[in-house]
Structure formats: C-alpha cells, structure tokens
C-alpha cells in the first residue's frame, strides 16, 4: 500500500518536471528550448538514424575500454593499498586530493600525448574512474573484521578458499559501490573529453548541435544519455542492495 503511494508520489514529481519543462519551453521559445512533445517526436526518428548509431557506438567503445582500464587499475591499486596498510596510509590522502581536482584541466596533456584518438578518450575517462574504485576497494579490505581471518585460519582454509569464501563475500558490497561510482564518473570523463575535442561520439554530437543551434537534437542526446545512466545506476544499485541483504 505505502509502496503504491510512494510510486504514485514519484510519478507526480515526474509529471511536475515534464510540466515545468513545457512551461519553460513556452517561456523562452521553441528555438531555445523545445518542449517535451517535439523533443520526443524528434528523438523517435533521430535514434534509428545511422549518424546517431555511429556516434553512440564511438562513445560506447571508448566508455567500455575506459571502464575496463579504470576497473582493472582501480581494483589493483585498491587491493594493494588495502592489504598493505602502510601503503594505504601514505597513498589515501594523495588519492583523495586527486579525486577532488578538476581533472578536465589535464585533458590537453592527454591530447598532446595521444592526439585526437580513441586512446585519449579512454585514458581520460579511466583517470576519472580509477580513483573511486581504488578508494572504496581499499576501504572494503581495511574494514574486514579480524575475526573473519582468524576463523579462516582456525578452519584451515587454503589461501584460495580464504579469498573465495571469506574475503570476497565480506568486501563485495563496498567494492560494488566503488564500481558503481566508477561507472558514473568514467562516463562523465568520456563525455567531457568528447565535448572538449573529439571527432565523434555523443558528446561531440551535442556540441556540434549547439553550434548549429539544433536544440532538438541537443536535448534528445541529453535525454538518451540521462536515461542510459539512470537505468544503469538503478541496475547496479539493485544488485548492491541484494548483496547487502544476503550478507
């Protein structure tokens, strides 16, 4: 019952947002901000075009590779700094400082090294993602209760069994939270790279649309990216909650 009411309340807010959008569109004019209906109809015939597919594929490729790199390096650094207490103590403040810096300032350096290539986008996206993955993985390992390791020893578990049956289940919810945040910021990194300088991708397309004053296209792309990020985040949150309840 309360769940139904909550869903209804959330729906009301969504409707309110759409109405505000409509009101804003009428206020500033259709050329500056198209309303929800024209945007959706544009979206419906824009998404199946080859131009959208090519650029979406370019962003998806860069994002997937960046994510792979960020997860690999982030987990590696996190495990190392979590297991080696002293390395963690030395490195944690450095990582936190890097995390809160405006990393966009470094993009020109990456452009100078890699040029306008896929690798540049991938590296820039990964730079964003490595830090939260590493920080949360480190915290997860440090927070393992000592009793767990003691019981593993008492039960004469092999190192592999200890990792598989004790360490992994104990750390996975927090590590997953890191992976979820890493997903978000890596996507942002790739999009920022594309918005600043790129030959293809959805970020490039949105800036291109802005210079051509194609507001419908701009908002359509923003809506697609919003929907993708929101759905992916909801899915990852759902997995996280399930694992939390199991633990």
């Amino acid at each position: 019952m309360s769940g139904v009411r909550r869903a209804a309340d959330t729906t009301i807010i969504v409707i309110a947002v759409v109405l505000i959008w409509q009101g804003l569109a009428q206020w500033v004019g259709d050329t500056a901000l198209p309303g929800p209906a024209p945007t959706l109809s544009y979206l419906a015939h824009f998404v199946p075009t080859a131009r959208f597919a090519e650029n979406a594929a370019a962003t998806a490729t860069a994002f997937a590779l960046a994510l792979l790199l960020a997860y690999g390096l982030g987990l590696g650094i996190g495990v190392w700094m979590g297991a080696q207490r002293f390395a963690g103590e030395v490195g944690e403040p450095i990582l936190i400082t890097l995390y809160s810096l405006p990393k966009i300032t470094l993009y020109p350096v990456i452009l100078l090294i890699f040029g306008l290539t896929l690798s540049g986008k991938v590296v820039f996206g990964a730079i964003h993602g490595i830090l939260p993955v590493a920080l949360l993985t480190m915290a997860a390992i440090r927070n393992i209760p000592y009793v767990y390791l003691k019981s593993a020893r008492t039960l004469h578990l092999s190192p592999w069994q200890t990792i598989w049956n004790v360490l992994l289940p104990a750390t996975i919810p927090e590590v997953l939270a890191g992976l979820r945040i890493g997903f978000t910021v890596t996507l942002l990194g790739v999009l920022l790279a594309e918005m600043f300088a790129s030959k293809d991708g959805l970020g490039f397309l949105i800036i291109n649309a802005m210079t051509l004053l194609q507001t419908k296209e701009m908002i359509s792309i923003a809506v697609v990216l919003f929907a993708f990020a929101a759905v992916a985040n909801a899915a990852l949150l759902w997995i996280e909650h399930r694992l939390h309840h199991r633990a």
């Binding site: 909550r6 309340d9 959330t10 009301i12 807010i13 500033v28 500056a32 901000l33 002293f86 103590e89 030395v90 490195g91 403040p93 450095i94 400082t97 809160s100 810096l101 405006p102 990393k103 966009i104 300032t105 470094l106 993009y107 020109p108 350096v109 452009l111 100078l112 090294i113 979820r180 997903f183 978000t184 996507l187 942002l188 999009l191 920022l192 918005m195 600043f196 970020g203 949105i206 800036i207 649309a209 802005m210 004053l213 507001t215 701009m218 908002i219 792309i221 923003a222 990216l225 919003f226 990020a229 929101a230 992916a232 985040n233 909801a234 949150l237």
Partner: protein
C-alpha cells in the same frame, strides 16, 4: 609529522623530481610537457605581470557565487524536504540517481537558453553542487539526537532557541560536509564549463593556450588551477579535522 606523512611528502617530491628529470633529459618531448620548474617560473612571471588577474577574479567569483547559492538554497530545500516526509520519500529515487547522470551534458542547452554569459556557468556550478548540500542537510537533520528535543522541553526553550543552540550545532558537522562537497563540485563544474565554452575565465585560458600551442602558458595555468583547488580542498579538510577534534575534546 607522522611517518606516513613524511613518506607521502617524499613520494610526491619524488614524482615531481622524476617528471623534471624526464622532461630535462628529453625522455618526454618538450612539445608534450615542459619541466615542472619551468611551469612554476612561467606561472610566477604571469602572476607578477597581472595578466591573469581578470580571469582569476572571474573564475573564483563564479565559483563563490555558485557555492553561496548552493549552500543557502540547498540548506533551505533540505529543511523543507525534511519537514515533508512524503515528499522526501517520493524524491528518494531522484537523489539516488542525481549524481549518476551526467548533468553536465545540459551545459550546451543552458547556453542555448541564456546565451554565452555567466548565467549558464553559475547554473552548472549550482546544479552540480546543490544536491550535495541538500543531501548533507537531510543527513544532518536525521542525526540530531532525540534527547536534545527533550532537553529543550525540560528547559522550556523556544523553537528558535532550540534550533539555534541545540539542533544547529548537532547537525553542523554534516552541514559542513555539504559545504565542503559543494565547494569541490562547484570548482570542477565551473572549470569544466569554462573549458568547453565560455567567453573568459581560467578554464577558458587553458583551453585557449592549448589551441595556440602555447605550452608554457598552458602548463603554468594548469599548475595554478590544480594548486588553488588543492589548497582550498585541503584547507576545508583541515578545518573539518580541527572542529572534529574540538568536539571530541569537549566534555559531554
């Protein structure tokens, strides 16, 4: 200084030294990166000449405005949402998604609506920072111990006195976390917005120097932005630690 702190300093110094060496020996091409020492001297000359003053004032001003708006309205909205549990429950999924979606992608839309002025940049700063303040306010209000309300009733304190003397101090650490996050988020959003498209500002100056192949200027500006962001974040962090210590030291 602790042992870890000393080693951390050595590690950072070692990395800068290695970079300096790599640049000087030609391992890193001069067209890709200039030695850190040259970045610093270039920055000093630029700062002394005063040519950066306008951009510095503009960018830091925009960040300050964004932070003030985010903190004031974020706190007010937090109070409002906290007072309305039904609204809060309905907004919950939006808070969980807010930082997952690239809000920044709306910057071009803002430019289309408001033109290439300060407004879209401030809006991006506020859009990125305000949610952190709202969430921190809700968090802080949730954590106010119930016993404080009872204490207030026992002492027959008024609503205002209860809020100012008991509830606000109890929520203060969480509110400060919100301020800290707002500053760091506004910094990132404003610089990024300037980078992508803006008439002026530090972010724009870096992007322009990059477009002009002016590496000395670009690296000097980069160093400056990263230094300022680090100093501001570290300063807020130190304040936080000091207050936490004082709270801990206070007899309860």
């Amino acid at each position: 200084m602790t042992r870890a702190g000393a080693i951390r300093l050595l590690v950072v110094a070692g990395m800068i030294g290695a970079l300096e060496l790599a640049c000087r020996s030609g391992l890193i091409d001069h067209r890709v990166m200039i030695p850190p020492s040259e970045m610093a001297t270039a920055l000093l000359t630029m700062l002394m000449s005063g040519q950066l003053n306008d951009d510095i004032v503009r960018t830091l001003g925009v960040i300050a405005i964004s932070v003030v708006i985010s903190v004031v309205f974020g706190f007010a909205l937090g109070l409002l949402i906290h007072a309305l549990p039904r609204l809060r429950a309905a907004l919950d999924p939006f808070f969980a998604t807010y930082y997952a979606v690239p809000v920044f992608i709306f910057y071009p839309v803002m430019i289309a609506i408001f033109g290439l002025s300060l407004i879209p940049i401030v809006l991006m700063g506020v859009a990125t920072a305000i949610a952190a303040m709202i969430i921190a306010t809700l968090n802080g209000l949730d954590r106010i111990p119930r016993v404080l309300t009872k204490v207030a009733r026992v002492h027959r304190m008024g609503r205002l006195a209860t809020a100012m003397r008991l509830q606000l101090p109890a929520a203060a650490p969480y509110l400060f976390t919100g301020v800290k996050l707002s500053v760091s988020y506004a910094f990132i959003a404003v610089i990024a917005a300037e980078f992508i498209l803006a008439p002026a500002g530090l972010g724009r100056a870096i992007a322009n120097a990059y477009a002009d192949f002016n590496n000395r200027r670009m690296y000097a500006l980069m160093l400056f932005v990263l230094l300022i962001a680090t100093v501001v974040n570290a300063g807020l962090h130190a304040l936080d630690l000091r207050w936490a210590k004082r709270r801990g030291a206070r007899p309860s």
